[in-house]
């Protein structure tokens, strides 16, 4: 073992007893050890420390409204979701048991409704319904994205901040993210009411509204891809695509000098962050870099 290897092992505290003895015999062992020992002269707590908890409490109670935003996607989504949740919560205060299910970043969950209908929730979404009232009225409120498999029966309604869906018994996907609202029908038929528009979707149809624009189209798949561990997009603004990446992986993405309303068609798998980033940035000729602690910068690529 040469000298540098010994030093490396000493630095990482992995010397065996024999190696340790060899290290002590090095000609400049004292100098080497001195360098590490003397670092203690710079120890932070001799010069600076965090305030105590009382200081924090005072600050919490007198804080000004939020100043500089670092990224605009996250605060925007957060504000939107706080406002919507507040609005929806007040809507939900009807008597009886309101069951509420929430998912966090990178989380998906399946919920069984009282009539055995199934709902699968995507990340950062919220579902609420009244269990007691269920046989009289099958109504759920959704913020976010969910896939529904509804048992045939009385009218089943999904209420979202951007539109309402009514069915008798089918499979359909509802995606409501901020201004983006999309319903895809996979089985049976679905009535959608959004803004001034009302239409019926049959199997394979989808409807989308984004900001003020509406469009109808066809599904590319027979089941929503996010339930199969992949997120897919058809001509969706990349700011929405990156927002979904943030939700699935729990990272924070900043776009620098990138046109946020560029349209993207494609998808990414939920298994690996780097592959997912490549799947999106490469077709768009963008580049990315992951800095420490789950931050990603997206910049224009080299031509």
């Amino acid at each position: 073992m040469n000298k540098e290897e010994l030093i490396q092992k000493w630095l990482s505290d992995t010397l065996s007893p024999e190696e340790s003895a060899a290290f002590e015999k090095l000609e400049d062992a004292a100098f080497i050890k001195g360098i590490v020992d003397d670092a203690a002269a710079f120890k932070a707590s001799q010069f600076a420390a965090p305030g105590d908890y009382q200081q924090l409490k005072t600050r919490l109670s007198t804080r000004e409204p939020a100043k500089e935003k670092i990224h605009w996607i996250r605060p925007l989504l957060r504000v939107a979701s706080v406002v919507l949740i507040g609005f929806v919560l007040s809507y939900f205060l009807w008597p009886g048991n309101t069951t509420k299910i929430e998912t966090n970043f990178g989380e998906q969950t399946s919920v069984s409704l009282p009539d055995e209908s199934m709902v699968t929730l995507n990340a950062v979404s919220e579902l609420a319904f009244n269990e007691k009232n269920w046989d009289k009225s099958r109504k759920v409120r959704l913020i976010g994205e969910a896939f529904f498999d509804v048992v045939k029966g009385s009218r089943f309604q999904v209420i979202t901040p951007k539109g309402e869906i009514t069915v008798l018994g089918t499979e359909f996907n509802v995606k409501q993210r901020g201004q983006f609202f999309e319903v895809s029908c996979y089985e049976g038929s679905v009535q959608v009411i959004s803004g001034q528009r009302e239409l019926i979707l049959e199997v394979g149809d989808s409807f989308r509204s984004y900001g003020g624009d509406f469009s109808s189209g066809k599904n590319s798949y027979t089941t929503p891809q996010w339930t199969q561990n992949t997120s897919t997009f058809e001509r969706v603004a990349i700011v929405e695509v990156f927002a979904e990446l943030e939700r699935q992986f729990g990272v924070v993405i900043t776009l620098e000098n990138v046109k946020a309303d560029q349209l993207f068609t494609g998808g990414f798998s939920h298994d690996n962050l780097e592959n997912a980033l490549k799947s999106i940035t490469e077709p768009l000729n963008l580049d990315y870099s992951i800095t420490e602690t789950n931050n990603v910068r997206v910049i224009p690529g080299e031509k």
Partner: protein, 174 residues
């Protein structure tokens, strides 16, 4: 079927115990990485405030990584390429030397040089080196804090050490 996810951080006794547990380590990490000039204590408090504001969305298990991410971002926002100068305080002189005036002057020059080299180090190397050698944090914990692998942490510590050794070579007692 109700899931009361992550409400615990909103409870004050849990939030305050998170502060007791994590504030010092977070402060020291910011201090080593960015120095005193950018007010690490202020960023620690801001990060905890953001934690409180988002207490419903963050579990107490994820609180540490949330805090470090937020605090680091707050720093990056403010950074204006300031040189990071860490203060030092002379430790006890080593036992084999005498306290002659020449010695004391040389010791002061040594620490001035040490300080200068530390400030020139790549901030990632400096942070890993200080957290391990001065704060005694294990490589695994540092890896988690920085969001990198153990091997990367070992490499950064070794790199920092090599620069210090080369630059301080002149002070070696032959």
């Amino acid at each position: 079927m109700e899931k009361d996810l992550h409400k615990e951080v909103c409870e004050e006794h849990i939030y305050s115990s998170l502060y007791e547990k994590l504030a010092q380590g977070l402060h020291d990490f910011l201090y080593y990485k960015y120095g005193q000039g950018l007010n690490p204590n202020d960023k620690v408090q801001e990060a905890f405030i953001k934690l409180w504001e988002n207490c419903k969305k963050v579990s107490s298990a994820k609180a540490k990584s949330f805090l470090y991410t937020v605090a680091n971002n707050l720093m990056l926002n403010e950074i204006k390429h300031q040189k990071v100068v860490l203060k030092y305080q002379n430790q006890k002189p080593r036992s084999y030397t005498k306290e002659s005036p020449e010695f004391l002057m040389e010791q002061d020059e040594y620490y001035k040089k040490y300080q200068e080299v530390l400030s020139r180090l790549n901030e990632e190397q400096r942070t890993a080196f200080m957290l391990n050698k001065v704060e005694g944090k294990k490589h695994e914990e540092i890896a988690q804090i920085l969001g990198v692998t153990r091997k990367v942490v070992e490499y950064r510590i070794y790199s920092a050490f090599k620069v210090l050794r080369d630059e301080l070579e002149g002070f070696r007692i032959k």
